[in-house]
C-alpha cells in the first residue's frame, strides 16, 4: 500500500484521493485483524445507592468508584458492536453487544460509578477490575482475570479459569473460581472462598470467619488470624498449608490423612486430631481452624 502511494505520485488531488482510498481498501483486506474502533463517552445520573449493571463479553471493564451521583462510561469498542445504556436514577444497565449470531466485539470500558452504589458486571473473555467502590460488588468473568482493590461492603467475585485477586477487607466476601487461582490479600469478618482445582491463597489478614472449599486445589492460609477466628477448610485431594500465628492461641482440628510440620505427629484416619498452639486456656478464646480433607495433606508452618 505504501509502495502504491509512492509510485503513483498523484499529479492531481483527484488521483491522490483515489490512490489513498485504494490503499485504505487494500489495508482493510490485507489486515482484517486491525478492526476499527469506536470511541465511547457517555454519562447517566445515578443516586448514590443506585445500581449499575454492566455487560461486556470480551475485552475489559474497569470500574472506579467516585464521589459523584452519576455514572460515566468511556472507552472504545470494535466497529460492529453496539453500546447500549439506559435506566433511571435508581438503576442503570449498560454494555456493549454484537449482532445476534455475529462475532463478539471487543470493548475496553472504564465505568465510573458512585462509590456507594451497587455494582454488577459480567463478562466472558473479559478482564474486570474494581477500585474505590464501597457499596456492594457482584462481578464475574469466565476466562478473564478479576481484580478488586478496596473494601466493598459486600463482594461477590467469580471466574472460571481467570485469576481472581482481591486486595482489601470486604465485610462479606464470596469468591469462587474453577481452575483459576484465587488470592485474597486482606482480612474480614465473613468470607467464603472456593475453587475446583485452582490454588487458593490468603495473605495479610486478620481472618475472622472464613470457609474455604476446594476439590483438588492447593490451599495456603498465610494470613494472620483474629483471636476469635473460625476458619474451616474442606478439600478432597488438595493439600493445605497453614501458617500458625505466633501470638494467637490457636486450636487446629485436623481431619486429614497426614499432618506434617515441626513436632506434629502424623494423623491417621479416621480420628480427627486436635492440635493446640500458644497455650489456649480451657474455655478461653482461641482461633479455631478446622481442616478436613479426604486425602490432601495438612502442613503447618511457623509464623516468622
Amino acid at each position: 500500500m505504501h509502495a502504491l502511494r509512492e509510485s503513483s505520485r498523484p499529479a492531481s488531488s483527484h488521483w491522490a484521493w483515489r490512490a489513498a482510498a485504494l490503499g485504505a481498501l487494500l489495508c482493510a483486506v490485507l489486515a482484517p485483524a486491525a478492526r476499527a474502533q469506536e470511541k465511547l463517552n457517555r454519562g447517566f445520573p445515578l443516586n448514590a445507592a443506585g445500581s449499575v449493571k454492566i455487560f461486556n463479553f470480551a475485552g475489559s471493564i474497569r470500574i472506579v468508584g467516585w464521589d459523584r451521583d452519576s455514572v460515566a462510561i468511556t472507552g472504545t469498542f470494535e466497529t460492529g458492536g453496539r453500546f447500549f445504556g439506559g435506566g433511571g436514577r435508581d438503576g442503570i444497565k449498560l454494555g456493549v453487544e454484537g449482532p445476534a449470531g455475529g462475532p463478539t466485539p471487543r470493548a475496553d470500558l472504564v465505568v465510573r460509578v458512585p462509590a456507594t452504589s451497587q455494582v454488577w458486571a459480567r463478562g466472558a473473555a473479559t478482564r474486570i477490575t474494581v477500585e474505590g467502590v464501597i457499596g456492594s460488588v457482584d462481578i464475574g468473568s469466565v476466562g478473564g482475570a478479576v481484580q478488586v482493590d478496596g473494601a466493598p461492603r459486600e463482594l461477590i467475585a467469580e471466574t472460571m479459569d481467570g485469576a481472581l485477586e482481591i486486595t482489601g477487607s470486604p465485610a462479606i466476601l464470596r469468591a469462587k473460581t474453577a481452575t483459576g487461582t484465587l488470592l485474597w490479600r486482606g482480612g474480614g469478618p465473613a468470607a467464603a472462598l472456593s475453587s475446583v482445582s485452582g490454588r487458593i491463597t490468603t495473605e495479610g489478614g486478620p481472618l475472622g470467619r472464613v470457609r474455604i472449599e476446594t476439590v483438588s486445589g492447593e490451599v495456603h492460609i498465610l494470613a494472620a488470624l483474629r483471636a476469635d477466628a473460625s476458619v474451616t477448610v474442606e478439600s478432597h485431594s488438595g493439600s493445605v498449608e497453614l501458617r500458625v500465628p505466633a501470638n494467637v492461641p490457636t486450636r487446629v482440628t485436623a481431619d486429614v490423612p497426614q499432618v506434617t510440620g515441626g513436632a506434629v505427629k502424623q494423623v491417621k484416619r479416621p480420628e480427627p486430631r486436635v492440635l493446640e498452639f500458644n497455650s489456649p486456656k480451657p474455655g478461653g478464646v482461641a482461633a479455631e481452624v478446622t481442616v478436613r480433607s479426604f486425602k490432601g495433606q495438612l502442613r503447618l508452618l511457623n509464623d516468622r
Binding site: 469466565v142 474453577a178 475446583v196
Partner: protein
C-alpha cells in the same frame, strides 16, 4: 541468540544432561479413578437416564458418511460424564453402591450378600435417598447445561469439562470409600460435600452458558 549448531563439546554436555533426565515421573495424584470412570462411562452409554440422554451427540451426514461434530462430541462427552453417575443411581441405588466395592469384577449379587451379612453395617436408606436426590438434581442441571452448551466457546467448554471431571473423580473416590466403610460419618460427609460442589458447579456452569445466550 543464534541458532547455530552446537559444538561437539556442547553437544556432549547436553547429552549428559539428557541422560540424567528421569525416565519416569509419577503424577502428582492418582489418575486411575478418572481413567476408570471414563472407561466405565463409555460402557454405560447404553443406560439412558432420560430420552434426552440418547441424543447426547450430534451427528451430521456428509456425503453419506456419518461424522460427529467435534463441538458436540465434546459437550456430549462431558454431559455423559455428568449423567453417567446418575445412570448408576437410576438403575438401582443400593445395588449400585454395593457394586462400587467390587472393582473390575462387579458382582451385584455377592456384594449384596456381603453387606446383608448379620452384623455388617450398611449405608442407611436415608443417606441413599439423599444421594439419589443429589444425582437427580445433577442430572437435571447437566441436561439443562447440555442444551445451552452450543453457545460456549471451545476453551470454556474445556474448562467446564475438566472441572466436572475433577469433581466426578472426587465423588467416585469418596463413594468408594463410603461403600467400603458404610458406617463412616466422615466418608459420608465427604460424599455430601462432593455432591454439593458438583451441584454448585453445574449451577455456575449454567449461569455461564445463559450469559452467553443473553
Amino acid at each position: 541468540m543464534t541458532d547455530t549448531e552446537l559444538t561437539p563439546d556442547e553437544r556432549r554436555r547436553l547429552d549428559e544432561r539428557i541422560s540424567e533426565l528421569p525416565e519416569s515421573v509419577e503424577p502428582a495424584r492418582d489418575l486411575w479413578p478418572a481413567i476408570r470412570a471414563r472407561i466405565e462411562s463409555a460402557r454405560m452409554r447404553t443406560l439412558p437416564v432420560s430420552p434426552d440422554a440418547t441424543r447426547t451427540s450430534a451427528t451430521t451426514s456428509v456425503g453419506g458418511t456419518r461424522t460427529q461434530s467435534p463441538r458436540h462430541s465434546r459437550t456430549a462427552q462431558w454431559a455423559r460424564l455428568a449423567t453417567a453417575a446418575a445412570a448408576l443411581v437410576v438403575a438401582s441405588v443400593s445395588l449400585t453402591w454395593l457394586a462400587l466395592r467390587g472393582g473390575s469384577r462387579d458382582d451385584g449379587a455377592s456384594a449384596v450378600a456381603a453387606t446383608t451379612t448379620p452384623g455388617s453395617p450398611a449405608i442407611t436408606s436415608a443417606a441413599l435417598a439423599t444421594f439419589a436426590s443429589y444425582e437427580r438434581s445433577a442430572a437435571d442441571l447437566a441436561a439443562a447445561l447440555e442444551k445451552r452448551s452450543a453457545r460456549l466457546d471451545p476453551k470454556t467448554q474445556a474448562v467446564l469439562e475438566r472441572s466436572l471431571r475433577t469433581i466426578d473423580e472426587a465423588l467416585q473416590e469418596a463413594r468408594e470409600a463410603l461403600a467400603a466403610d458404610p458406617s463412616s460419618a466422615a466418608y459420608r460427609s465427604f460424599v455430601e460435600s462432593a455432591y454439593r460442589q458438583k451441584l454448585d458447579f453445574l449451577r455456575r456452569a449454567n449461569d455461564v452458558a445463559a450469559l452467553r445466550g443473553a
